[in-house]
Assembly symmetry: C3
Homo-oligomer: 139 residues x 3
């Protein structure tokens, strides 16, 4: 059993979905490992990791609409507003989703479903640089 720890930097252009499945798969190929477990950890509290449909981009826009209705920017409920109207909604969206993913792999490929992509979901309106730790364990 071997392991590798790497870090991915993802530059966002503000709120939205960023598919980085190919980047993770590329790191996995570099290891030459055949079977094992990939763990992703996002080092932030105002963006999420999400596995979602990679076919119709309207799905991402609908997810965005839903979360914007559920936790709207500028919601009068929030008091932590010093970092902007979109900051506390970003924390709420992160709490409602996740910052960790664990995906087994086999024959050197993650066992994702046909329609599954791995996304960084940026919740802040401004562009950010986001760091994801990638831990790959296997043989």
């Amino acid at each position: 059993m071997k392991q590798t720890l790497r870090e991915l930097e993802i530059a966002t252009r503000g709120r939205g979905f960023y598919d980085f499945t190919a980047k993770v798969q590329s790191l996995l190929r570099e290891t030459g490992l055949k079977t094992g477990l990939v763990t992703l950890h996002l080092q932030h509290t105002s963006a999420s990791l999400l596995i979602q449909e990679n076919a119709d981009p309207e799905v991402q826009r609908d997810l965005e609409r839903f979360f914007s209705r559920l936790a709207p920017d500028g919601d009068a409920l929030f008091r932590h507003t010093a970092e902007g109207d979109d900051d506390m909604p970003a924390h709420v969206r992160t709490a409602l989703t996740t910052v960790n993913l664990s995906i087994p792999f086999n024959e050197g490929e993650m066992t994702l479903g046909t329609w599954q992509g791995i996304y960084l979901w940026e919740h802040r309106q401004a562009p950010h640089r986001r760091s994801v730790t990638v831990h790959i364990l296997g043989e």
Copy 2:
């Protein structure tokens, strides 16, 4: 340290909770491993994996009621409607929950709490066949 990768097929009868704790425990027993980590990955974007109470079935019905109120079928907010009124709500429910679970085990048993069961939560109204990758690592 050894590992095994298996796949479980779960046939659903439409929206609802399907307890498959015993199936995972059975795969774990077959490995003969005593201590380690089980990782489950659901290969779909309109159903979830969830650890929830296995005692009173009313808890599941209340969870269903809550999520149906939060993201109702046919919500006019959604534009990705070609696959049916329940499709986009299913994606939203999946985003709000998860498709990955990581559960340590000891003495050959998952360290679940007394009231914890492992569920596939089908979000579509029609029956589906769902695939779960099961990665077991330990010694």
Copy 3:
């Protein structure tokens, strides 16, 4: 590759956030392992594990306000009420967040972001004793 399985007991004083990052880091140091993966599993269905901002405590209060508005105690929607007005909202909050976390570590330190803390989020109003399984794998 080596592994250790431990259990943490966390006594809560009722609903709220309990930072136990230092306890996990302390267990990690005891193992002497340098690189690997920490997995946390909470053995309950009415409390969550959450990675969130550890700087401004107002963030936690705002998360609390948001979830209290989303799934208020005593909501007439719920029928599983025998264990109290706050029980079913606690199950809903747990379903909306998670009970599993997977965090890689390097040079003996978890790869958490600067502002990330690991929290037990107690959702019940009364004090509880909560158990978290800690699985540490690495070399």
